[in-house]
């Protein structure tokens, strides 16, 4: 079943905190392959991570 952006965004966030099960990662990858919006969102999460880690350095 095709993953929605809503589900993808939730899993992308959760994936920042723990390793997702293999099947979730595969479904997520399939979604990202065709979805620019979620690909951008995923990049935003990574920028946030790097920026907040450096905050007050």
């Amino acid at each position: 079943m095709m993953m929605s952006c809503k589900e993808a965004s939730r899993l992308l966030s959760q994936g920042m905190d723990e390793r997702l099960p293999l099947w979730q990662r595969v479904r997520l990858r399939l979604h990202l392959a065709i979805c620019d919006a979620c690909t951008n969102f995923s990049r935003h999460l990574k920028v946030l991570r790097r920026a907040v880690a450096r905050l007050y350095d």
Binding site: C5, S13, M16, N40, A51, Y56
Partner: protein, 181 residues
Amino acid sequence: MSFRADIEALRPYLLRYASLQLRNREAAEDAVQEALLAALAAESSFAGRSNLRTWLTGILKHKIVDAIRRSSRERPLEGAEGEASADDLEALFDETGHWRDTPQAWPEKALEDKQFLQALEKCLAMLPARTGQAFLMREHLGFDTGDICKELGITATHCWVLLYRARMALRECLEKGWLGR
């Protein structure tokens, strides 16, 4: 300048740092005071080992974690923050689960952009207190979600929801405050 004066000069900086994470002026002042006292007592262990600010921030981090631990015991999560479901984020998507506002690419080198970092600090301060705390524990203090759950006394699912909400709110806030979208 004496060690004491060097340390004292960093107080405002440390206070800003603690306030962002504790969201309570008094608690932040207490944490900074405890950190400065601990630093004075440990002067010999510093001995120019590293950057003074980095060293002090390291001590303060522990005091901040202690304070978060205490306050989460005293005050459980309230209101929307107490909700362990992400239903409040439904509004960001349409009935078919697509983004209502499609995330666009951010300019390259956001990390080197002072305005981005300033906007980020403001956006972090605007998050609901516990949501912001959970997020900073994860992304700044480097806790894993298991430890955040334990410290805040919440379930793993609730913890993911707090972090998810924080990230959604931050990117929305940054798009407005930084990119003016």
